[in-house]
């Protein structure tokens, strides 16, 4: 059992990059945690979640709530209208495909931490202060999940799936 943290969003669009910001800080402060900035929510997510017990996906969301608030969602909550995503599959469809093709290898639990964005329109590599202030809490959420699950098994380490993320 182990955890994969996946950051999604565009680093150049202010709060849309919150997933990438969290992943960068995890890589710096907790290098033992497997965390990758995937940027785009597509089929590539399977390369990172297969063989994991838990996958935590961090993305920005716009619901009208207070910027910086963290919505904790299950996969079913983000099952969007399938297949309508442009050049590939949506995140939910990609994960569904994973469960269809690799039923024994997919995580038992997928947590989506959706962070309410204040600004996703501007070209900026910085988060707004409200979302920046939420980053420690997101990291705490991740650490709580990691602690509950425990370290990766030797088998997983040997499988070669443990690749160092490069930010």
């Amino acid at each position: 059992m182990s955890v994969a943290v996946i950051g999604i969003g565009n680093l150049l669009r202010a709060d849309d990059g919150v997933g990438a910001h969290v992943v960068r800080r995890l890589n710096e402060g907790w290098p033992e945690i497997y965390a990758v900035d995937l940027s785009t929510a597509e089929i590539g997510v399977l390369d990172h979640v297969r063989g994991r017990g838990v996958a935590i996906i961090i993305d920005a969301i716009v619901t009208g709530a207070r910027p910086g608030s963290i919505h904790r969602l299950e996969l079913g909550d983000v099952a969007d209208e399938a297949f309508t995503r442009s050049h590939g599959l949506s995140l939910a469809s990609s994960l569904q495909l994973g469960y269809r093709l690799y039923p024994g290898e997919m995580p038992e639990k997928i947590v989506v931490l959706a962070v309410e964005a204040g600004n996703i329109e501007s070209f900026s590599t910085d988060l707004t202060p409200e979302v920046e202030a939420a980053v420690p809490e997101i990291i705490n959420e991740v650490l709580r999940e990691v602690e509950a699950v425990g370290p990766p098994s030797d088998e997983l380490k040997k499988s070669g799936l443990e690749v160092q993320s490069a930010f």
Partner: protein, 484 residues
């Protein structure tokens, strides 16, 4: 008159709206693909450090980041007046083959195959990768996922990151390849060659083995008689990374040929008031509106444009498939839009074979990775993105800050063709006001073949694309609106 509008276009990047106008008889009068997004990316780049451009521009969209990274890196080579070392060129090209392997694999199986393997008339809920797997089996699905991941892994080993590489620097590349990594890439490339051959066999059995599909490919609504553009090597073989830009005419003969830096003398952009995306055309012919034929400067890029603009493939197995495609479809050029899917698979095989060649090149593990740069100036970098020719043009100031940026992306090159393909498909398929979901999908197939990316063509950053089709009658009254 009735109008049909398709918005958002499913399985397509960016944002677009198709409006179809019908006449009194219920036949198609005209059709427009509008791109309603405002460009902003070029301005965003101004004032930034030149060396940041290969990192920033891949964020234009999530689909061809590697192509933007490479065009940007090559533009910096030119702007700093430096040629990369031989090893750096080969490493860049090897990384690029990884990108082509995963991009072409994804497009064929996830976006193109649903129309052919599941069928163009199948309900939308089945016309997707899950429907494809139901037909071809889960094992094929695993092969698709595996080889897409191989392409990504090749890019990651060389580029530092699978989707947004960071390795390109003016004059070379920031990281070399060790023997262990080289062996890993060789193994993956070897497997990818077999997978590409399997994919061509699948296309052969499922598509070419079905007379209905072959008739559809060759049917009038899907023909477009334009010029073709693509990059070629000295033997006029398709080259994704470097070479001359070659344009062939409607008879398949060379019509124009130029170097990256000369592109502005050969290609211009036309603006229409109803869309934010520009249209490109050949200067030698001029802009004559949305018409095909030798008197109109419209050309096609992308897999079919590239194969048409070349005279063969540089690797033996892909070259054999190239010749088989032209023999089957009646010689070069092939003007059938749906043949893009076949051309894409021929290119997949080339990318895999070439990755294998490069991974076994004795120079590939050399440490000669970078040449010293000159003073900053102006430069153009061109690559063949999966979707077609991609130009990056930068002007730098004395301190290496970006003064000016011009980008011409694959989808802009193809925009006029896409508009015409939609119009022609609509004209051929919508008769007497009869509009069904199946018919609309046939219209969508006309542009899905190009795999267009409007995020890039307007240089905006939407990340995903909603789609609406609206049908208007002869009095401009909205009679049908389909939203996905």
């Amino acid at each position: 008159m009735r109008t049909i509008t398709i918005d958002p276009i499913t399985r397509l990047e960016g944002h677009g709206k198709i409006s179809i106008f019908l006449n009194d008889a219920g036949n198609v009068e005209n059709a427009y693909l509008q791109i309603p997004e405002l460009r902003g990316f070029e301005r965003f780049c101004e004032g930034r450090r030149a060396e940041d451009m290969p990192i920033i521009t891949p964020r234009i969209c999530g689909v061809c980041p590697v192509a933007h990274h490479m065009a940007s890196t090559k533009a910096l080579d030119a702007a700093y007046g430096v040629e990369p070392t031989e090893t750096a060129k080969k490493l860049r090209e090897l990384m690029y083959m990884g990108y082509m392997i995963y991009d072409h694999t994804l497009h064929f199986y996830f976006l193109g195959a649903p129309d052919f393997v599941v069928g163009p008339d199948a309900p939308a809920s089945e016309r997707n990768i899950f429907g494809v797997l139901k037909k071809v089996g889960l094992d094929v699905g695993k092969q698709v996922i595996k080889h897409r991941a191989y392409g990504q892994k090749i890019t990651e080993i060389l580029g530092g990151k699978a989707t947004h590489p960071t390795c390109g620097i003016p004059g070379g590349i920031s990281k070399g390849l060790n023997e262990e990594e080289r062996q890993e890439i060789e193994d993956m490339a070897h497997s990818s060659v077999e997978f590409a051959q399997f994919s061509l066999q699948l296309f052969n059995d499922v598509v070419l083995g079905n007379k209905g599909y072959v008739d559809l490919i060759l049917s009038d609504p899907y023909q477009l008689n334009t010029y073709n553009m693509g990059m070629v090597d000295g033997d006029n073989h398709v080259n994704f990374y470097d070479g001359d830009i070659r344009v062939t005419d409607q008879g398949g003969k060379e019509f124009d040929r130029f170097k990256a830096a000369e592109y502005l003398d050969h290609v211009s952009e036309h603006v229409e008031p109803w869309t934010y995306s520009k249209f490109t055309y050949l200067n030698k012919v001029g802009w004559k509106g949305l018409i095909d034929g030798p008197d109109s400067g419209i050309y096609r890029v992308g897999p079919l444009g590239r194969l048409n603009a070349a005279e063969g493939m540089a690797t033996p197995l892909a070259d054999e498939e190239y010749r088989r495609m032209y023999e089957t479809l009646g010689g070069r050029p092939v003007n059938s839009t749906l043949a893009f899917h076949w051309a894409r698979l021929v290119e997949l095989l080339y990318a895999a074979e070439h990755a294998l060649e490069l991974s076994t090149d004795p120079e590939i593990t050399s440490n000669d990775l970078r040449n010293p740069v000159g003073a900053p100036g102006e430069g153009v970098g061109v690559v063949e993105a999966a979707r077609g020719t991609l130009y990056h043009h930068y002007k730098l100031d004395d301190e290496g800050l970006v003064e000016n940026v011009n980008l011409i992306v694959a989808t802009t090159n193809n925009y006029a063709d896409i508009c015409m393909s939609i119009r022609d498909a609509a004209k051929g398929l919508i008769k007497g006001g009869e509009v069904s979901d199946g018919l609309l999908n046939m219209v969508e197939m006309g542009f899905r073949a190009y795999d267009p990316c409007f995020a890039c063509s307007t240089h905006s950053l939407p990340g995903q694309m909603p789609m609406v089709v609206e049908v208007y009658d002869s009095k401009r009254g909205l009679v049908r609106r389909i939203e996905r």
